[in-house]
Symmetry: C2
DNA sequence: ATTCGACATTCTGCATACAGATGCCGTTCC
DNA sequence: GGAACGGCATCTGTATGCAGAATGTCGAAT
């Protein structure tokens, strides 16, 4: 585990908030793997603070579902059972479907235009085979759907679920041909949204995420010793 | 704010967990109202602990969305804007619809039987006008739907949303005729589930929650000074 | 009478200190 | 040789202390 970003990087908010963001980022991006221990004193020395803010950060991360805690034991990066992972993917598909459906009904003209333009532009990334860049575009694309639903609480739920799912679906675009298929699926969603066809948008979005789920399970469940939630 | 249950009441788990449960219960049941301050030293003396576990409990409650925190200010019971409240009700309806649909498809025979029996029994509570008892039955009824979906993550999402919504929909069964209408709506949901008609179950469940939303908004937004999330 | 400002009070944020629990390892006994 | 026991090291759980921020109050000036 290499030396990671310290609190100088993220300046806003209290010490605890900075640590929450930093650690959550490490977990979501895969710098820390499921099952890895989060020792309080190690974190304290690494972030150059005392154990008190570390403990509060760990508790918040625990509430977010990113780390698992049990009394008198170290916090560990959450590792889930296969059935729970499946339930998260299914929930994600349902939530994406809701967002796509509501986006089709509620997006402003500006949001529709931006969605379409950004999507069309991404074809270049597909042709170039730029996996990293397409991955970033993909994140942005889905975030547009979440925002387009114009429902703050749904936005929170789907964002939270995506974060918890992130450690288990890395490298989805490494699979051969996945970029082109992703673009086609995005295209179906965008078309349905621009037609204001909520039902179609929901269905295509559901299928899209379900396919991603299939593609990712190959890499999923990183380590042994899966502990439920 | 009266003297409330101390930690002797709830014996399981660590001190912090006990406090989280106790405070969350006070918020959800309405013993503490939105906007009310949660002073650290007051809570510490009241629960006969130091400020350290109090702070950890407050942070967890903040992550759960039940209290709002900002740096160098006391935690307050979460109060939301009207639009955010609406977004939570809408999210709740969508989640209930998912649960009802999945329940129709996945409930075991035992679960279906238990759901039907419990529902049928509740007609007595309607006739007796037993609001409190029917409210308890209602909670149980919906929990059956959440479990029946056989999706742990969806269960967490819907449970979390229900808890955050609870402070704003008290006394929904005080409205005249609401008991009988609730029973009829439950009946439609149960019928659809027993027929394994997922689409119908989802639609009826959505309508049911949407109606509850309308009934509750009368009492909603308890105090002035609404702070968003 | 009102408004502005300095001071005092109160409360949060964080660090430190101590107590209890857990787990490891060596020793000892069977 | 293996298993059980006890001591030690390590880590978590909680209490306490201190510094800084926020708020309310009192007084003075306009």
């Amino acid at each position: 585990m290499r030396q990671v970003r310290r609190r100088e990087i993220i300046r806003t908010g209290t010490t605890v908030e900075q640590m929450v963001r930093a650690i959550a980022d490490m977990i979501v991006t895969g710098a820390m793997l499921p099952g890895e221990r989060l020792d309080e004193v190690s974190l304290a020395t690494r972030f150059e603070v005392s154990r008190t803010p570390v403990r509060e950060a760990l508790r918040e991360l625990g509430a977010m579902g990113l780390v698992a805690r049990e009394p008198n034991h170290s916090a560990v990066v959450t590792n889930v059972t296969e059935t729970y992972l499946h339930s998260m993917f299914e929930a994600m598909a349902e939530l994406e479907a809701i967002c796509a459906r509501l986006s089709a009904e509620r997006m402003t003209v500006d949001e529709r235009r931006a969605l379409e333009l950004d999507h069309r532009a991404s074809i270049k990334l597909v042709h170039a085979g730029a996996e990293e860049d397409y991955s970033a575009h993909n994140t942005e694309f889905h975030t547009r759907l979440y925002r387009g639903a114009h429902n703050e609480h749904v936005f929170e739920l789907v964002t939270q679920t995506r974060a918890r799912l992130a450690p288990f679906r890395r490298a989805q675009f490494r699979l051969p041909g996945r970029l082109a298929r992703s673009y086609e699926e995005h295209d179906a969603i965008v078309t349905a949204i621009l037609r204001a066809d909520g039902a179609a948008a929901g269905q295509t979005a559901y299928s899209h995420v379900a396919i991603v789920s299939d593609a990712s399970t190959v890499f999923a469940v990183a380590k042994t010793g899966n502990r439920h939630v």
